[in-house]
């Protein structure tokens, strides 16, 4: 069928074709999605089988939704929405701020409403297809087993993706108007990571919170909200989108109409404000700050290290990535820090376990700026300075701020009378080890576009480096944990494994040579 040129379907086909071509290179991600889908289907099948053994499992085809199914549905809807919103934020940064074809489209005779509709729909469809690909097997199994109302998951999911994409695009537009495209992209990425980290922590709350009387008291104080007639009760209108997942007619109607309204509002806002309001802040420079007079330095070492620190300080995105990565480590730390009686271990043990992993994350982030992101390697190589000396100074620029982070923790341990030497020793060794790994095997990445999703992925193409870094990360985590428990022999064995990883990295650098260019 011939699609009319310049129409919404024609433009949408163009957007989806670009997405499909990007996706084709990501076979690992697609494979992972399929495996996760199969795994979920298997788990659902086992659960349904086990449940049918202990209780009479009645597939509900008509009638009122059982309350015990509503709350998992609400949680599922919320989790899916957060995931879709995080994804949509990242994609909005690309489609509104990074895609160079937007100027081409806006300058063409195609209606801007059609352009923004296609952008919004493409973001929503891409996220929907990703989620649907994961859900199609388990939902299909449930439908085959008689839970036919679950077919409502898919229209609800599409509405959810449209709402998430609309909100994300409106936020992106607002940020672009206030900060300009480049800063908006960084802020959006930081926001997306923060949201994802919060969601992750939220999902881990049951593990993190001990069975404390205070926790129970708080829970009791808010139970009135869940009583019949309360704001959060089972019959509340707030849960209509979750009910729509079970083909509830009112839920489906309200969700559909609400989504259509939000989408219309978003497209109209984008249409009205983008051309008139957005272009101006992109080209208007911010007011220049009054600068203190700069004093040049003569000391070569200080010149190099100061330059690297300036580059680090002015790349908040990388630092935020590092700090948020620590968030994902917290639940694991809580598990590790508990002893056999489910009580927390000593402060020294916790610090010895946690700090090296924190240090490695920080080194990775700083190495991305100072090593992978070196923007003028030819300048360094054409200078009358030894490349080895520059490399050492760059390592110093990475390690000094990392080590500075551990000083207050060591101070607290000393004041508390806790053992601090193992923590500092493991921390210093881990950070040097990781910095050397990066120095010997790192590949260049474009620092200017590091906040955008596509360019960031360039750094992860080196499979061997990724594998060696994973071994290093897990190895140091295990070593730090064993060191906190005083298991000398295990520590020694792990140290040998880590030395092996370092040797592989060095050997590889001798074979392949450095591509960093300095």
């Amino acid at each position: 069928m011939q699609i009319k040129q310049g129409s919404l379907p024609w433009l949408l086909r163009h957007e989806l074709r670009l997405w499909w071509r990007t996706l084709r290179g990501k076979w690992f991600a697609i494979g992972l999605l399929i495996v996760l889908g199969l795994l979920t289907t298997l788990l659902l099948g086992i659960w349904l089988f086990a449940a049918s053994q202990v209780t009479e499992l009645q597939p509900w085809v008509f009638g009122e939704l059982p309350p015990e199914l509503l709350w998992p549905a609400v949680l599922g809807w919320f989790g899916l929405f957060c995931y879709a919103f995080v994804q949509a934020l990242g994609q909005s940064a690309v489609v509104l701020g990074d895609r160079t074809d937007l100027d081409l489209l806006i300058s063409s005779p195609v209606s801007s409403k059609v352009i923004f509709s296609s952008r919004l729909l493409s973001v929503a469809i891409e996220i929907f297809l990703g989620l649907a690909g994961f859900l199609v097997l388990p939902i299909g199994l449930a439908v085959l087993l008689g839970f036919i109302r679950l077919i409502g998951v898919f229209p609800t999911l599409f509405c959810l993706c449209l709402i998430a994409a609309s909100l994300a695009m409106l936020i992106m537009l607002w940020l672009v108007q206030r900060l300009g495209a480049k800063k908006a992209q960084v802020v959006v990425q930081v926001l997306a990571t923060a949201l994802f980290a919060l969601l992750f922590l939220g999902s881990q709350l049951p593990n993190l919170l001990l069975d404390q009387p205070q926790t129970r008291a708080i829970a009791q104080s808010i139970t009135f909200l869940f009583q019949p007639g309360g704001l959060l009760s089972a019959d509340s209108w707030l849960w209509l989108p979750a009910r729509a997942m079970f083909c509830d007619p009112v839920g489906l109607l309200v969700t559909g109409l609400g989504t259509a309204g939000i989408v219309w509002l978003t497209i109209t806002t984008l249409h009205q404000t983008f051309i008139s309001g957005t272009q101006e802040p992109l080209t208007t420079k911010a007011q220049r700050p009054s600068l203190p007079p700069q004093r040049f330095q003569t000391n070569f070492n200080r010149v190099i290290v100061t330059k690297e620190w300036r580059m680090i300080r002015r790349n908040p995105y990388v630092i935020s990535q590092v700090l948020f990565s620590v968030v994902f480590f917290i639940p694991l730390l809580v598990v590790l820090a508990r002893d056999d009686q489910n009580q927390f271990a000593s402060l020294g043990a916790i610090a010895t376990t946690a700090c090296p992993v924190l240090g490695i994350s920080l080194v990775s982030g700083l190495a991305l700026v100072c090593l992978n992101g070196e923007e003028a390697p030819d300048l360094l190589r054409s200078a009358p300075v030894s490349g080895l000396r520059i490399q050492r100074l760059k390592l110093l620029a990475i390690l000094l701020p990392t080590w500075a982070c551990v000083v207050p923790i060591a101070g607290i341990l000393i004041l508390q009378g806790e053992p601090w030497v193992p923590m500092v020793a493991v921390f210093v060794a881990a950070t040097i080890h990781h910095a050397l790994l990066r120095l010997w095997n790192a590949r260049p990445v474009g620092l200017a576009g590091i906040a955008t999703l596509q360019k960031r992925q360039n750094s992860s193409k080196d499979v061997v480096l990724s594998a060696v870094e994973l071994v290093s990360y897990l190895g140091w985590l295990a070593l730090a944990f064993q060191a906190s428990r005083g298991n000398g022999l295990v520590v020694l064995a792990l140290a040998l494994v880590l030395a092996g990883a370092l040797a592989i990295a060095y050997w590889r650098s001798r074979i392949l040579g450095s591509t960093l260019g300095f």
Partner: protein
């Protein structure tokens, strides 16, 4: 006259492709030398070997008496290199960039700071000294990189397409600065695809194709060797690289030296 740059049978091969093929050339001090050639002729590869960014497979480049392969530090001390894409740091301000470059060439702060400020005034960048380089236009970036080259007072400046992407005013400023720099006894080697620039500015011109020097001399000498009299450099260049007359020119050129 002293020799600023001497290439001795310089060669570089990438896989099966011979990028530079036993290139021999001398550039005297105190002149602007235009190094011309079609795309892929080996110009940039030659220049990158001269400044120590690429290791030659064979041969050597002697910069003011210092071999780039045997004593690279001493040779690099005299050179400034400006590639076609400006080597800048997006998150540094102009003065910070100049401080960094001065540091790389070990220029004392008391000498570098006033010179850096003077250069920013001269290049019209003083007003934007508080901005990051990432906000600069291509012309501003090119001017800042040129200021970075001048801050360590090199005796030989090597520029790869220095005028591409510059507006009229910026191009004139750069040309004037380069001519003034040469008039003070320094040497400039530049590549360009704009023949008028080479014809107007260069004292000597070298034309390279397939990694070999096919003609070399002043514009008048190249005109004299052409089949037709009174031709422009553009015509001579095209005649050389397209008509297969290279061998005649090369023989005559080598004979003339």
């Amino acid at each position: 006259m002293a020799i600023a740059l001497q290439l001795v049978s310089l060669s570089k091969q990438f896989g099966s492709h011979q990028a530079v093929n036993h290139l021999t050339l001398e550039v005297p001090t105190g002149m602007l030398y235009a190094f011309l050639g079609p795309n892929g002729a080996g110009k940039t590869t030659t220049l990158r070997m001269v400044v120590g960014l690429l290791k030659p497979d064979q041969g050597d480049a002697i910069v003011l008496g210092q071999s780039i392969t045997r004593s690279p530090k001493a040779a690099k001390q005299h050179i400034a290199y400006l590639p076609d894409e400006p080597m800048l740091y997006s998150k540094l301000r102009p003065l910070e960039y100049l401080e960094f470059v001065a540091g790389l060439w070990h220029i004392p702060a008391r000498q570098a700071q006033p010179l850096a400020e003077e250069l920013l005034h001269q290049f019209g960048l003083w007003e934007v000294r508080g901005d990051f380089c990432e906000t600069f236009s291509r012309g501003m970036k090119q001017k800042l990189v040129l200021a970075g080259a001048l801050i360590h007072s090199p005796q030989l400046m090597i520029l790869d397409e220095p005028l591409s992407g510059l507006d009229v005013a910026a191009a004139r400023l750069v040309k004037n600065i380069l001519l003034d720099y040469v008039s003070r006894g320094n040497t400039v080697i530049l590549t360009t695809h704009i023949m008028e620039i080479a014809q107007q500015m260069a004292q000597r011109i070298g034309i390279i194709n397939h990694g070999q020097l096919i003609a070399e001399g002043t514009f008048s000498e190249l005109q004299a060797r052409s089949r037709e009299q009174g031709e422009t450099l553009e015509h001579i260049f095209l005649e050389l690289v397209q008509s297969g007359a290279a061998s005649d020119f090369q023989t005559e050129g080598q004979g003339a030296r």
